[in-house]
Assembly symmetry: C2
Homo-oligomer: 157 residues x 2
């Protein structure tokens, strides 16, 4: 695999401009298919009051809108920084075919962001995480999956 | 820690109704603070063409809007199913204080969803994942973090 430097340059420029304009964090991303730019995204967490609005999430969401699709088969994600676990998992759900990134999670940590720590957290068993998690009412919750299994009208994803 | 069964019941009912109405997958979530319901969310991936629109992401986004905040300190997340790595990481970024869930990732796998597999993927080193990842242009990308470090006008998150 080999990324196109012009698309990474665009992701980096989006990230830098996002800081310079005071809009948000130093993160930019672009989605590309067959060498064509499909969508872009920047970090909008503080600008839009949305904890999930990382550059990659924003770009994936914009690409889904641009393609009127909930999957981005054949699309490559260029991000100015290694995606955090939220954004990486989003790339999997979206069925992106490749991820190119500039800064690493360690670089992000140096700049004050928790990405590297979150990889450690997510990799732990649920009971060992710093965020307390507890299972409850599993029997009742199974109703929802039973409904899904039995449903005749559903869009698989 | 101890979850409130009435809020989990609400998350499960949202999940089941999401299937019955044909709107989307069997997932529902609610956000609660000090015993008060702040926001709800259901899976809207196929309904809104958004690969990121899992129930928990939708609930977190709605809660951010409801509170006009990009962090949800003091908020608990109730989900009808164990959050996938995307949603779990979103709960960390949002600074939720607890996560309660009904179905497990293994239950989700049985119902045809990739959550458990994605925990394995995210836990691997970047070079060993099924989704190809490649770092490039790290030196150029460091410009964005340098801009962030030097910026005097920024909202930390």
């Amino acid at each position: 695999m080999s990324g196109d430097p012009s698309f990474m340059r665009q992701a980096i420029d989006l990230a830098t401009q996002n800081v310079i304009t005071g809009r948000g964090g130093p993160f930019g991303a672009v989605i590309v298919r067959c060498g064509i730019l499909i969508a872009t995204g920047v970090n909008l967490v503080t600008a839009t009051n949305d904890a999930t609005a990382h550059a990659e999430i924003t770009a994936i969401r914009n690409a889904c809108t641009a393609l009127s699709a909930f999957e981005l088969g054949g699309c490559e994600l260029y991000s100015s920084c290694e995606p955090c676990p939220m954004c990486l998992t989003a790339a999997y759900w979206a069925k992106c075919t490749a991820v190119y990134f500039g800064n690493t999670s360690a670089d992000a940590a140096t700049a004050g962001f928790d990405d590297a720590k979150l990889y450690t957290e997510v990799s732990k068993p649920a009971g060992q995480r710093t965020l307390p998690m507890q299972q409850m009412m599993r029997h009742e919750a199974s109703e929802s999956f039973a409904a899904w299994t039995q449903a005749t009208r559903k869009v698989l994803y």
